[in-house]
Symmetry: C2
Subunit: 266 residues, 2 copies
């Protein structure tokens, strides 16, 4: 089972779009996939048409110890299971501030749930911050994927993000590794995109061999900016259902192929 946290504290870089379309793509390839929405905005849930309002059980209930993951995830037609979130989840940052071992609540809930319901992939969509929700995802994951918009602020944040991953590796989850960086919202032909891509390659080439991101690869597939990717959430669909012939669907299908191909080397 591969447990992948999709994270980046920089906002609006394509975390949710990547989590949803990667999870949907892997499910279409016949894999058993669970997508966990860790963002109080609940955008991964909304993107797939799940309205987690009122009494609908969400990830918040799991953090409060009131429900098991298996009681909260919703199976979709595609076989994909989604653990929804809503704004209640925002309370976790404060409510768990004093709780002992708060960073491993999700990890423990996940290992309990998958004992009876095996998955091939667990994808975790993180909020744009490095708080207790993201740390829970890092504790529960064995891989990190970093969606990165090739803009100036993106590179700025990367070293801080990698430092945080290293802290988690040292204190909470020694097997955590950053294995993939996905260039999203890519505007081919702009100098900015090619400059940042070059800077990124240089940055990674100078990585110390023992760093948790020393094995990270930049995926060959660039996820190009494509308006259909921004339209799909308003229809509650992945890009594969909404616009299967669009460049957005082609790009995410490419990413899915690369992620599957990693299985043989992983």
């Amino acid at each position: 089972m591969r447990r992948i946290a999709v994270m980046n504290q920089k906002g609006g870089v394509g975390k949710t779009t990547t989590s949803v379309n990667l999870a949907a793509g892997l499910a279409r390839a016949g894999k058993r996939v669970c997508l966990i929405d860790l963002d109080p905005q609940g955008h991964a849930s909304l993107h797939l048409g799940i309205e987690a309002f009122g009494d609908v059980p969400t990830l918040y209930d799991v953090f409060r110890g009131e429900r098991e993951l298996a009681e909260v995830w919703q199976p979709l037609e595609s076989g994909l299971h989604v653990v929804p979130a809503n704004v209640d989840l925002a309370a976790v940052e404060i409510e768990l501030a004093e709780v002992h071992q708060r960073e491993s609540i999700l990890r423990d809930a996940l290992s309990k749930a998958v004992a009876e319901h095996p998955f091939d992939y667990v994808i975790m969509d993180c909020p744009p911050s490095l708080g207790v929700l993201t740390v829970n995802a890092l504790a529960a994951a064995d891989e990190v994927f970093i969606p990165l918009q090739p803009h100036f602020f993106a590179l700025q944040g990367l070293s801080k993000l990698l430092e945080t991953t290293q802290l988690v590796t040292h204190h909470v989850n020694p097997c955590l590794r950053v294995t993939g960086i996905a260039l999203c919202l890519f505007e081919t032909g702009t100098r900015l995109a090619s400059d940042v891509t070059d800077d990124l390659a240089l940055f990674l080439a100078n990585t110390p061999p023992d760093a948790p991101w020393s094995g990270a690869r930049v995926f060959e597939t660039r996820i190009r900016r494509n308006i259909k990717l921004a339209e799909a959430p308003s229809f509650g669909q992945s890009i594969f259902d909404y616009a299967p012939k669009s460049p957005g669907a082609a790009d995410y299908a490419g990413l899915v192929r690369e992620v599957l191909a990693m299985e043989h080397t992983h």
Copy 2:
């Protein structure tokens, strides 16, 4: 003095780009402006070339009660004063969790500082969350500007954001009003942008008269997507210095004019 919080918990919608270019534009128009960076990513500071590393005093020192605002802000050539931030600021969420009246630390620091150093505008760039840093900005502000990318997720988050503003109005700062919504990263000609803009107008038309956003206007100026706006931060400059003839500079100049014109009706 106008104190404006630029906020939206949705990530990557143009908060920092708007805060920096609005502040720079108002300073070019001869106003005395203070820009406060409330984001631990420190992007507003970086955007203007301020590297707040090591012993450079930052907003974090003000939250800790170790420095006054007037000891921390850095005057730039343009007359704009910037209160920088860096990742240290992220500790505030946890460190202040138990502190009494933690939400008004910035308001108190600001009223003390401006007694000796008057400003015409204070612009506060918020992080993509609704935590203690954003609440401090809302407590210190009298106006809220909401940058909004005309995408599906943007509208989803708006009602939650307005609810939070209402909570702050009731409990912390009765004079707080949402006065402006700026459409950013606008892609003219896309159906998505026109659909969301229509939905937004409908949403606002149905606003109850006593709501803190009942007077909110959607600025006429649309900030179009323009790669020069994404390039400017890597040169440490506002759009007016980096690419004064670009559509990005024209759009932000238009926004500055509209903001100045509000003074007569405000």
